[in-house]
Subunit: 321 residues, 2 copies
């Protein structure tokens, strides 16, 4: 099978193949808006980020797009186009490519995103790298450096379900389905991102919780040089997660990762405009003169996530280098 | 070593790290121009596209950027930004990342290109995927589908040197240096692309010869549905290539690949405006009613590159699937 034959199948599989065929794809100025572009690139590597025995090619295609859309949501950007680089090991064939692109296509169609080509090559293991770009929608800066004293800390939904789901999958347990689904299928918070954009009145801090809730909270504290106080009781946690992992669900909630919720810090009065059934206040921001950290209150327990604890607990993609 | 530590080194290594730190990088509307954007993504996989024993980390970083800039040159696009995804095996460390980004930075600095973040993760082998975007500069369409009857076929420089250099490298031969360099260091034809843009008066066909001269000629014939007649004698070929591979240099010229020259088809009168020391006419386009192909005249020999011959000779990244 040659690249030209793979490209033929891809063009037949996606809804709009008009951007595929030349060395570059052209995106019209009208598509890009006039306020600038947000760009992001995320890669998924076989046996590091996924295992082909536990996720279908179609689910993988959908997830690969959605993890990038989650980054655009974290910038309040409206998704416009993606480019897709796929490196195929010898044990994957044309059927895989077709199923993968069916997943890619359904994720892109949902938001009217253009598939603006990419690259297809061989490799030892499956490697997926996707670049996504979105339009700037609001005049304010959205950055993890914008958390400030008296801000409230807000998130958009359950944490821990994805990591719980992964643990079930690795033990060949298929229930609760909601946890397994939370791991296999990422829901980028585009709609909620737009609601936040509509409510915003000035610069604010936002990121997604792809690397874990504690990771995101800690990054806010370090990048904005503030303390983040969190009431653990107020973090949205599913009944399924508590009942399935009653012994250490709290660990999954804080450190599990891959939840792809939004976490943001903005002023109380902006938060008051948001729907309390969709946005959950979990803490507040306090200025500090030194050693910014995250302080978590859990019943009578209080503990601190500082540099030392973070470097012990946080996920290391690279192994112990 | 954690991702956060790698990112620290990358920010210290590149000239302008202001785009790095959030889930997305923001590109200002002024940077992007108002005529639309060309985007491309190319990946380089260890032991498929390069071998770490034959290219330095710095050369690799430079090459990874330049192969993408070559695609932008083929669209007459002015490069604006790149995003970079790097997947590191355990046997590569912080020194590799620093050297790689020194190469990335020097390639980007040369054209004032913004390094707009990307992704860093682990893997079994080194995997590099780069997305590059450039501004539209001319009102005409530049596509491999635009070759038309009576066009002249033009290229920008030597073919075969890169493949010849690779063959030397694989045999641990370091001379002629010019051939080895042609393989290790890619020169994207940005300046010549701008000269073509300035001369252009209507839509024309262009691509780079990264997959080989014969591959590019054949793609023009298939995508534009025309015959391409080429006079082999008029193809720019270096003395070093002829003297080193006198037995089969012609094979390297046509099928070697990785030359990253521009190949284009446009009207005779536009060609007349171009500097004949920089642009070399190698053939012409002839309309056909059926079975478009490439016809190569070499002294008294004539041969045809049609679908059958092409599928036999062209490079297959994917092995014999």
């Amino acid at each position: 099978m040659k690249e030209i034959e793979y490209i033929k199948i891809i063009k037949e599989t996606i809804s709009d193949s008009s951007y595929i065929g030349d060395d570059c794809a052209f995106l019209d100025a009208k598509l890009l808006g006039d306020k600038g572009l947000f760009v992001t690139q995320d890669s998924l590597v076989e046996d590091i980020h996924f295992n082909l025995s536990t996720i279908s090619p179609c689910q993988l295609g959908e997830k690969a797009i959605n993890v990038n859309l989650s980054d655009l949501a974290a910038a309040c950007a409206e998704p416009v186009f993606v480019t897709i680089s796929l490196s195929l090991p010898h044990y994957l064939d044309i059927d895989f490519v077709k199923q993968f692109y069916l997943g890619v296509n359904s994720a892109c169609e949902k938001y009217g995103i253009k598939i603006a080509g990419g690259d297809l090559t061989g490799s030892d293991k499956l490697f997926i790298s996707i670049c996504a770009a979105g339009k700037k929608m609001i005049p304010y800066s959205v950055s993890r450096r914008n958390a400030k004293d008296k801000d409230v800390v807000v998130t958009t939904g359950f944490h821990g379900d994805s990591a719980g789901g992964l643990r079930l999958i690795l033990n060949n347990i298929s229930k609760p389905q909601s946890l397994v689904n939370a791991h296999l299928s990422v829901q980028p918070q585009i709609e909620k991102s737009m609601l936040i954009a509509n409510a915003a009145e000035n610069d604010f801090a936002m990121m997604d919780t792809s690397d874990g809730l504690a990771d995101a909270l800690f990054k806010f504290s370090q990048e904005s040089n503030v303390n983040i106080n969190v009431d653990f009781e107020s973090i949205p946690i599913s009944r399924e997660l508590k009942e399935t992992f009653f012994d250490d669900y709290k660990n999954l909630v804080l450190w599990g990762g891959e939840d792809y919720q939004l976490l943001f810090c903005l002023s109380e009065n902006v938060y008051e405009k948001l729907d309390k059934n969709k946005f959950f206040k979990i803490g507040n921001v306090v200025q500090t003169d030194s050693n910014p950290c995250v302080k978590i209150k859990d019943n009578n327990q209080n503990y601190v996530i500082d540099k030392d604890m973070f470097s012990k607990k946080s996920f290391n993609h690279f192994g112990e280098k």
